[in-house]
């Protein structure tokens, strides 16, 4: 067991965890932040995507102990009084059906928009599809997810 301290959604948390605890388990079971979903648990589906120090990672393939001192943002932390523009865009563009993949899609969407904006590249619909390689949705056929991210990119 190791005691770790990190900032999750702006709040400082300190917990004792077994060294093999995954970040996804830590968030869901220790912090009860169940918005981060575990779909495959094998690094394929992206439902578990969160941000660590501002970058998207798969929380099912990250050890919580390795993140002592890190800043973690989950789907619960992106709205700031009102919904994040990415959340609004998913709502407006019917970017979800069952919603299981949505937390990961939103976290990946925000990450890609931030990266493309920082490097001054245009986030085309082709680029969005390419960027979504690690996020799987069994319902929507992706079309409205791509539209949602493009819509949000224009507003972020």
């Amino acid at each position: 067991m190791t005691s770790i301290k990190m900032t999750v959604n702006g709040k400082s948390v300190e917990k004792e965890v077994a060294d093999q605890t995954l970040l996804s388990e830590f968030l869901r079971e220790n912090l009860r932040l169940t918005g981060t979903h575990v779909g495959c648990d094998t690094s394929q589906c992206g439902a578990c995507t969160v941000h660590v120090n501002g970058k998207s990672v798969k929380s099912c393939t990250t050890l919580a102990v390795s993140l002592d001192g890190a800043e973690v943002t989950t789907i619960e932390g992106v709205a700031n009084g009102e919904l994040h523009p990415m959340q609004v865009a998913f709502n407006d563009n019917h970017g979800l059906q069952c919603g299981f993949c949505t937390p990961g899609m939103i976290m990946s969407g925000i990450d890609m928009v931030n990266r493309y904006k920082a490097s001054g590249q245009e986030l085309t619909s082709d680029a969005i599809r390419h960027e979504l390689e690690g996020n799987i949705c069994r319902c929507t056929g992706y079309h409205n997810i791509v539209k949602s991210i493009q819509d949000a990119a224009a507003k972020m």
Binding site: A18, V57, L63, S66, E131
Partner: protein
């Protein structure tokens, strides 16, 4: 996952001490393979030694006609590096095509090389570019480094510190990804270097990454897609699995070599 003890040393000395201190220790560099392997119970190290907090382990620099990339540099960092882009953009393309964005934020070049997965992308680049792998004890030429499936010249508990890559005259990588895993079903890295043309193939060889002599000879005398297309590629010694037969892979080697040359 079975229980394990995590260490995060701040120096090579402390890392070596931690590695020698455990029963079955493993180095953690990005975890994108190791953690998945531990979850499947295919690995159950008693101790994990995370090398990412060691000073100087990550970062990219260029000097004297070579690029030096720290072992703990992530694929995303290589893919977006302006220095790599200007000196060897093929490496940016390769790094930017590994896995997916979230995997690229964590996976590292040192981890990929030490693991030597027969379908990984980096081994092809490192072999074709004639890179040198620097460890805590010595320097290993890429030619002597890869030693069959998931096997390298690294000794027990030897730590890769950085990779030094001579800047090529021309280079490109073409990959046919296995659609589910995004690993290379076949990947071909072509490079024109100061010591001639080198062509390295990943994803296909039964013993992992290898150089293709026929393609090297053809491209050495005529650097063109049509020269690559004229080379007969034997399926002998190539992998066959549910994703593709040896003959299918042999055909893909020719196609990827052509595409890579055409992209330079």
């Amino acid at each position: 996952m079975y229980s394990t003890t995590y260490h995060k040393p701040a120096s090579i000395e402390d890392a070596i001490a931690a590695l020698n201190g455990g029963e079955d220790t493993k180095i953690l560099a990005g975890g994108q393979t190791l953690i998945a392997t531990m979850k499947q119970h295919l690995a159950a190290p008693s101790d994990l030694v995370d090398i990412r907090a060691i000073g100087g382990m990550s970062g990219i620099s260029a000097a004297g006609g070579a690029l030096t990339i720290g072992a703990a540099t992530t694929h995303a960092e290589v893919a977006s590096s302006a220095e790599v882009k200007s000196l060897c953009s093929a490496l940016c393309d390769l790094a930017g095509g590994i896995g997916d964005p979230a995997v690229r934020h964590q996976g590292t070049i040192g981890g990929s090389l030490a693991n030597n997965d027969p379908a990984a992308d980096y081994p092809a680049a490192i072999l074709a570019l004639g890179a040198t792998i620097k460890t805590n004890t010595r320097e290993i030429a890429a030619l002597d480094f890869f030693d069959g499936l998931f096997t390298t010249a690294l000794e027990e508990n030897e730590i890769i510190v950085s990779i030094s890559i001579p800047v090529p005259q021309k280079a490109a990588y073409a990959k046919f990804p296995q659609p589910a895993s995004r690993f290379a079903l076949v990947g071909v890295f072509v490079a024109q270097t100061d010591d001639g043309v080198r062509v390295a193939v990943t994803g296909a060889g039964e013993d992992g990454v290898y150089r293709h002599q026929g393609l090297e000879e053809a491209l050495g005398s005529n650097w063109s897609a049509s020269a690559a297309a004229g080379v007969p590629i034997s399926p002998d010694g190539l992998m066959s699995d549910l994703h593709g037969t040896a003959a299918y892979r042999a055909n893909l080697i020719g196609v990827m070599a052509k595409r890579a040359v055409a992209a330079t």
